[in-house]
Symmetry: C2
Subunit: 237 residues, 2 copies
């Protein structure tokens, strides 16, 4: 049986085209967190931590939560004192490197395994999984290891993108890249299209939002998963 | 002054949309190599080494060269006995990991610094540069280090792609990714659009092919470089 914890809210993309930051998932995110929570914000995926905090604060303020970035003081103490954590998107390699160097990777994983809600978006969703091996980002920084927080026992590919049938570009499609991943590893990969997110709570994993996810498993045809789909079978370790 | 060696032929993409393998650069590649050369092929960027060798052989055969993949025997001995090396494209992380584990990274670099011609395509072009930090590929395998062969003292981004003004996808554009690279590093990055390649010989670096490259330097506006452009200034260490 899957464990009753952790509680995770793993978003593909923070912002829909033409929309506001976290607008598309705000109602469900508010219900997931509850009001009055102190949320520790991890800004390390972007270079300008202060500007990133200023961008994220109004979205959480509108949910009745107080968001403070961990770069303002002792990051470990900030996570220790918070009711929830939000790990923002940007460059996944830079983010994981900072999480490893600060000790936050282990500290956040320990608190989440003890029940603290985790919210991740894009790179923040990548680092919640087993490893960053299915990120779309450029490896601008080398982390100690590609192993990530391991809050779920599978991989996620955020911003999952279908092939463009009219493209003449010869770079690999996303599906080709994920097939290459499965040439090396047997771990399932959930491709979260922009507009959907995965909620894990009470030992269940449920797809939410307005778009399908696409599930890739080694040696199997990819499968489409509609919003509302029960993906709890992916939690089995 | 830039050194008179190495001799490099660094291709953005092996195949143009609707074209044959290496067809778009075959005439110049033939002139670069000369006829009758034994070419050691490095197939490690793809999973099926034999199939990859079978795909590459006719293209080199048409140039009057004999191509044999290094996976058929002792890779170090194969490189030692060859007149030239061709490193094929695929997944850059898988390729660099294999080059490091086999000792080929150091062996190829030593021979190229001593004058052996190096031909790379896509991932094979990435690994010729200072590091793989500007690859487009998914990090499916973790190499010991992102440092690559360092045959040129700058970075290349193969398959360079302009932003699509009609896209509603919120993933980073290539230019945004390279700007993130320059938030962390000062090394110039040459974005090779599909259809162009860089030739280094006689201490000069020249852009060739049918498309522009785009040069990214920290703190400067990107610059377009047309086929024929002299980029030798990038060779200064």
């Amino acid at each position: 049986m899957a464990p009753a914890i952790p509680r995770l809210f793993l978003i593909s993309n923070s912002t829909m085209h033409g929309g506001q930051y976290l607008q598309h998932c705000a109602a469900e995110l508010g219900a997931f967190l509850g009001r009055g929570r102190r949320v520790a914000f991890v800004p390390y995926a972007l270079a300008d931590h202060g500007a990133y905090e200023a961008k994220a604060q109004p979205a959480f303020g509108a949910l009745g939560c107080e968001l403070v970035s961990v770069h303002r003081g002792d990051p470990l103490a900030a996570v220790g004192a918070a009711d929830a954590v939000f790990v923002g998107g940007g460059n996944t390699f830079r983010l994981l490197d900072a999480l490893q160097r600060t000790g936050l990777a282990a500290a956040i994983a320990a608190r989440v395994q003890a029940g603290m809600p985790y919210v991740g978006s894009s790179a923040g969703t990548n680092v919640a999984t087993l490893s960053i091996r299915t990120t779309n980002d450029m490896p601008i920084v080398q982390p100690m290891t590609f192993a990530a927080l391991g809050l779920v026992p599978f991989q996620i590919n955020p911003h999952y993108l279908d092939p463009d049938p009219n493209s003449k570009h010869m770079g690999e499609t996303r599906e080709q890249r994920l097939r290459e991943f499965h040439e090396e590893h047997g771990t399932p990969v959930l491709g979260l299209r922009e507009g959907c997110w995965l909620v894990v709570e009470g030992g269940r994993a449920t797809l939410r939002g307005s778009t399908n996810a696409r599930l890739f498993r080694r040696g199997m045809e990819p499968v489409e998963c509609a919003p509302g789909a029960d993906l709890s079978f992916l939690l089995a370790r």
